[in-house]
């Protein structure tokens, strides 16, 4: 297998860019075209793409990636409070800070592999969560969450004589980062992040990470020291998480400790596995599915279901509503769980495997329709 060239990558990127930027249009029919959900798609997309660099390539399953997400958010909000409402310093600092945390946690956790590695990362993330929740309340404001205040310093803004009346919003040189502008900012970063991940997947570095996944011992015997590669992958994916955390704060300047909870770490694992770990697009599909469920399914109620089944005869409609009601609204976790079970059992490679199977159907049909070429033609 030859390495795909930059040119092939560019073709993928053009398609990807078009798809992401036109998301508000093609998501409209399923009711997912409002700014907040679009932002969430893009932000958690970045998170999952980064997580996939570690899990998809090296096979190291981190159960503590939410810690970096939280670190990113807190750093970003502090940057808004102390430096400037401009999002660029916030994003840069958050990525750096998450990188530092990832280096420290990775340095220790990567001494072990397999389940021990997962448990170590989980333990570190829980430590971060508890610190943020109750020990470091002066920095994190505990359960209430870190928020902006009118009397924040904002040194850089003051230096340039920018003042705000009322509570300020995050800006990119004057463009407010809420609603659609916020989404496009996240989308551009998602595209850049995806491009970087694409290059990593197709680089010699990515190849070495894959080698670690397939057989680390053999790699060590050939003379490679695997530790630096693993640590680099861990730090890079931590920085992606930091970026995602920063963007959460950019689109909504508030950081809460629950972002670091183990459920948040578990969510990104679910997303990646649901979509297809180790594939490029898979994690993004997983993000789409989970966030769609969380935001749209959880909000359906009897009233809406009745409207949905209005085309059926009255009695049949009532039965349909009664049958579907437990699976929407409060029951959205149930639906998600069922879907997850079905995918893990029947499509271990996630949604991407399903797509590959569907794509293979025409080819199979063709093979059946056209008799196998005779040996004579083959010899020619």
């Amino acid at each position: 297998m030859s390495m795909p060239t930059l040119k092939n990558d560019l073709a993928i990127m053009v398609l990807f860019t078009a798809a992401v930027l036109s998301a508000p249009l093609w998501l409209a029919p399923i009711g997912a075209d409002y700014p907040d959900l679009l932002q969430k798609f893009a932000i958690y997309g970045i998170f999952a793409v980064g997580f996939n660099i570690l899990f998809g390539l090296t096979g190291y399953l981190s159960f503590g990636h939410a810690a970096f997400l939280g670190v990113g958010s807190y750093t970003a909000v502090w940057s808004f409070k102390l430096l400037s409402m401009n999002v660029l310093p916030a994003v840069a600092l958050s990525v750096l800070m998450a990188g530092v945390f990832a280096y420290l946690i990775g340095f220790i956790s990567l001494r072990r592999s397999g389940i021990y590695f997962s448990i170590l990362t989980l333990a570190f993330a829980q430590m971060c969560y508890n610190l943020a929740y109750s020990v470091l309340t002066p920095i994190t404001n505990g359960e209430t969450g870190l928020q902006l205040a009118n009397d924040d310093a904002r040194v850089i803004d003051t230096l340039f004589g920018i003042s705000y009346d009322g509570l300020p919003s995050t800006t990119l040189f004057g463009l407010e980062m809420t609603g659609y502008p916020g989404f496009y900012f996240c989308a551009v970063l998602l595209i850049l992040g995806f491009f970087l991940s694409l290059r990593i997947f197709h680089s010699p570095f990515g190849m070495k990470l894959r080698a670690i996944k397939s057989n680390q011992t053999r790699m060590v015997y050939t003379g490679y020291n695997t530790k630096p590669y693993l640590l680099t992958a861990f730090v890079i994916s931590g920085m992606y998480a930091g970026l995602a955390g920063a963007l959460l704060a950019v689109t909504d300047p508030l950081a809460g400790a629950e972002r670091m909870q183990w459920t948040a770490s578990g969510e990104v694992v679910l997303m990646t596995i649901l979509g297809g770990a180790g594939t490029l697009i898979g994690p993004l599909l997983g993000v789409g599915i989970i966030k769609y469920f969380e935001n749209i399914f959880s909000a359906m109620n009897v009233q809406q279901l009745t409207e949905m089944f209005a085309f059926l005869p009255d009695w049949l409609g009532k039965i349909a509503v009664t049958l579907t009601n437990p699976f929407v609204g409060e029951g959205w976790h149930l639906t998600l769980g069922l879907l997850f079970m079905l995918i893990v059992i029947f499509l271990p490679g996630g949604v991407m495997e399903g797509m590959r199977r569907i794509a293979a159907i025409p080819r199979k049909l063709k093979q059946r329709a056209v008799p196998k070429p005779t040996p004579a033609t083959e010899e020619k």
Partner: protein
């Protein structure tokens, strides 16, 4: 010339394609910004539509799910009454002054959407944004945690959509974190302190030593501060105030030191599951059977709720606390509400349900008074609104901080409940004057409501 094919770099075609894509994308926001040119317009203006939407954002999962479920029942009931579709008219019969006609709001039928806050600020804000951006609500409401309420209230200000707080008891909600677009009907920690002071003095005397256990977040902090200032004014001494992490589960390590501290009153600034656990453990440790400094050891739970009392079982017998409202009140409005809620669901409402129901009616009534859904006009008609017949006697929505001032209750755990709902006995209905404070009270200092138009 060298072969260009394998040289990495951007091809001309690729460059043109990409830049075209970016240009289209850059132009896109302009198509989506609604009403960017209209000056007096506001977000989610129902215009000529026949219906108007409200959003009810309550905890449906997690530690406060019971309370959230009860709040949702109350909201649904309020919508029925506003639309004139209920079995009776509920508090529309008793509210004074009343502008609502029982035909929706301003002739538009009320519809609602619901959401799950999961008792997390993040999830609550995401859910609220969905209601505002996708469903187009003109008002959203909900509660159970002050942290979550404060987070939603600041979102309300950012987006320009009114938020009617449900259950939130922290002073900060209408203190340092108050917002022009946020309104609170529920009472607060300061009021709990002011109401309980005289009762504590009468029952326990002026010479006591108090020990606080406090939930470590905005509500716990402000309640500890409020109760401390009340009890210290009585002449009590505060031995120590210990912060406990939220959701600790096991409080034994915090309760053991109380035994040897020389304190004779334990004040539990806990709520929900924390309160159930800490109170149960304190009773199991035998605190209430002890004699310290020649007095019987007492426990006080400043914020009580019937749902929590259910969880703590018989441990609550005789323990003092305060609530916003209780279903056993005998005024016409309370009876009407209990009757109407009971007819719909078969059991009496909680105080959370009461405050949420009242908030929905108040918002609807304010729109009717203003004659428009424009939020700044609705806010102006709520500010300084004086009303009666909602279960707490004459009530004022103060303009300075958007806090309601009304009678509140001091209650104690019922030793001999006559039913599974009859858990709290009203000790005193504390008059509004006793719990009123000046807007510049230091416990509420530092906030700013912000502008009417955002």
């Amino acid at each position: 010339m060298t072969d260009q094919k394998n040289k990495p770099g951007v091809s001309r075609r690729g460059f043109i394609k990409t830049s075209g894509g970016i240009a289209a994308a850059a132009a896109m926001p302009a198509f989506f910004v609604r009403n960017a040119w209209a000056e007096e317009s506001f977000i989610n203006n129902p215009g000529n539509a026949k219906t108007v939407k409200l959003g009810f954002n309550v905890p449906q999962t997690g530690a406060y799910a019971d309370e959230g479920a009860d709040e949702l029942r109350a909201y649904k009931l309020a919508v029925k009454h506003i639309n004139g579709e209920g079995k009776d008219n509920g508090l529309l019969e008793t509210m004074q002054p009343l502008s609502l006609k029982g035909n929706g709001i301003l002739g538009k039928k009320v519809e609602y959407v619901t959401g799950d806050t999961q008792t997390k600020s993040d999830a609550a804000r995401a859910s609220a944004k969905r209601m505002i951006e996708k469903d187009g609500v003109v008002m959203f409401s909900g509660g159970s945690s002050s942290g979550v309420a404060i987070a939603q209230q600041s979102l309300a200000q950012d987006m320009g959509v009114v938020f009617m707080c449900g259950l939130t008891h922290s002073n900060d909600t209408t203190g340092k974190d108050k917002r022009r677009y946020g309104f609170r009907h529920f009472f607060n920690a300061y009021m709990s302190g002011a109401a309980m002071g005289p009762v504590l003095k009468e029952r326990m005397g002026a010479d006591r030593r108090a020990y606080h256990l406090t939930a470590d977040y905005t509500w716990g902090w402000t309640q500890e501060e409020s109760i401390k200032s009340t009890t210290e004014a009585l002449g009590w001494e505060t031995v120590e105030a210990v912060r406990t992490p939220l959701g600790a589960g096991d409080f034994s390590q915090y309760i053991t030191p109380v035994l040897n501290s020389g304190a004779d009153v334990l004040i539990l600034n806990h709520y929900g599951k924390d309160m159930i656990n800490s109170l149960t453990q304190a009773v199991q440790f035998g605190l209430r059977d002890k004699q310290v400094n020649g007095k019987t050891f007492e426990i006080v739970v400043p914020l009580y709720s019937r749902l929590m009392a259910q969880g703590a079982g018989e441990n609550i017998a005789g323990i003092l606390g305060s609530t916003n409202w209780n279903w056993s009140l005998q005024d016409a409005a309370s009876r009407a509400f209990v009757k109407s809620f009971g007819a719909e669901y078969g059991f009496p409402p909680s105080q959370a349900a009461h405050t949420c129901y009242v908030q929905t009616l108040l918002y609807a009534n304010a729109c009717e008074m203003a004659g428009t859904f424009a939020p700044w006009e609705v806010i102006k008609s709520l500010e300084g609104f004086e009303f009666d017949g909602m279960g707490n006697g004459p009530t004022l929505y103060r303009a300075d901080d958007h806090q309601c001032f009304k009678n509140i209750l001091v209650v104690e755990g019922n030793a001999n409940p006559s039913s599974q709902f009859d858990l709290l006995k009203v000790v005193q209905e504390v008059p509004r004057e006793q719990v009123t404070y000046e807007p510049d009270n230091p416990m509420f200092a530092g906030g700013d409501l912000g502008p009417y138009k955002v």
